[in-house]
C-alpha cells in the first residue's frame, strides 16, 4: 500500500504554529475533525503519549490512535521549522509529524501496515533533511511518491 495515495494536500501543514505537545496534536487533529470529535481524539492521543512518546527520534513523531470518529484511515502531516517539544526518545525537538487515525476495525489491519510504512518513509525523508525542501503540500506528496518508487 502506498502512502502517497493516502496523502491529501489539505491535510498537510508545512508550517505548524504550535510549539508544545498538546497544542500540536490539536493543530494536527484540526485537519480532520472539529469540536467534540477533535477533543475526544486529542484526549485519546494524549493517553497514548502517556505510555511513551511517539516521538521516535531524529525529529520525527508518529502520533496514532483508533477512533470511531473516523470511518476510514486518516493521515495528517505536519512540519515545524522551529521544532516542537514532544518528549521524543532522543529529547530533541520534533520537526516532522505523521498523525494516523484509524477506525477500530479496519480491513486487513491497514493501521499497522501504514504505521510501518510511515516509519520507513520517514527514514528516507530524514536523509539530507529532504522533508525540509517541499514548499507546497503537492510537492511534499510528490516527494513521498518518489521515495516510495525507490523502496
Amino acid at each position: 500500500m502506498n502512502l502517497y495515495s493516502l496523502l491529501k494536500p489539505e491535510r498537510i501543514n508545512l508550517d505548524l504554529a504550535s510549539r508544545k505537545k498538546q497544542e500540536v496534536l490539536r493543530e494536527l487533529v484540526g485537519a480532520i475533525r472539529k469540536n467534540e470529535d477533535a477533543d475526544l481524539l486529542v484526549s485519546t492521543l494524549l493517553k497514548r503519549e502517556d505510555l511513551g512518546s511517539t516521538g521516535i527520534g531524529k525529529g520525527v513523531a508518529i502520533p496514532h490512535g483508533r477512533s470511531l470518529v473516523v470511518d476510514k484511515l486518516e493521515l495528517v502531516v505536519g512540519r515545524s521549522k522551529e521544532g516542537v517539544s514532544f518528549d521524543a526518545i532522543d529529547k530533541k525537538p520534533v520537526h516532522l509529524f505523521f498523525l494516523i487515525v484509524a477506525p477500530p476495525q479496519d480491513p486487513g489491519n491497514q493501521y499497522l501496515i501504514i504505521l510501518g510504512r510511515v516509519a520507513v518513509v520517514c527514514q528516507e525523508l530524514l536523509k539530507r533533511k529532504a522533508y525540509e525542501k517541499p514548499e507546497t503540500p503537492e510537492e511534499f506528496i510528490k516527494l513521498v511518491k518518489e521515495i516510495e518508487g525507490k523502496l
Binding site: 467534540e36 470529535d37 477533543d39 475526544l40 484526549s43 485519546t44 493517553k47 497514548r48 502517556d50 505510555l51 511513551g52 512518546s53 511517539t54 521516535i56 527520534g57 508518529i62 490512535g65 483508533r66 477512533s67 470511531l68 470518529v69 526518545i89 477500530p104 476495525q105 489491519n109 499497522l112 504505521l115 510501518g116 516509519a119
Partner: protein, 115 residues
C-alpha cells in the same frame, strides 16, 4: 453531547488501545517502528480506565460492560444518517429529540449518540 456520553466514548477509546496493546502482532510492530513505552502499558491503561469509570454512575458503567461483553466490538456508537452505527437499523426519529440524554438503540441495545 452530555458529560456521560463523553466519558463513555473516552472509555471505549481506551478499550481500543488496550486491545491493541494486548495483541502480540501489534506490540511487535510498535516495537519495530521504535516506539518506547512503559514496561507494562496494559496495566497503565487499565488504571486510567478505572479512574475514568469512577466518573460515571455504576449502573451506566455496568451496562457499558454488559454491552461490550455481548458484542465484543463497541458499546457506544454514533447515529449515522438516522441509522445505528452498530447494527445499522433505523433509529426512531423521536429519539433524536433527546440528544442530550443517553439512549440505547432499540434494536441492538448499544448506547447511541448524535454528533
Amino acid at each position: 453531547m452530555s458529560e456521560e456520553i463523553k466519558i463513555l466514548l473516552e472509555l471505549q477509546h481506551l478499550d481500543y488501545m488496550i486491545k491493541d496493546w494486548r495483541n502480540d502482532e501489534t506490540r511487535k510492530q510498535f516495537q519495530k517502528i521504535g516506539f518506547k513505552v512503559e514496561d507494562d502499558p496494559v496495566q497503565m491503561l487499565l488504571k486510567k480506565r478505572e479512574k475514568l469509570a469512577e466518573r460515571i454512575n455504576k449502573s451506566l458503567y455496568q451496562m457499558y460492560e454488559r454491552i461490550l461483553s455481548r458484542y465484543k466490538d463497541w458499546a457506544i456508537v454514533p447515529v449515522l444518517n438516522g441509522f445505528c452505527g452498530g447494527c445499522f437499523s433505523k433509529v426512531p426519529t423521536e429519539l433524536s429529540g433527546q440528544r442530550k440524554v443517553i439512549n440505547n438503540c432499540p434494536n441492538c441495545g448499544r448506547f447511541i449518540y448524535w454528533d
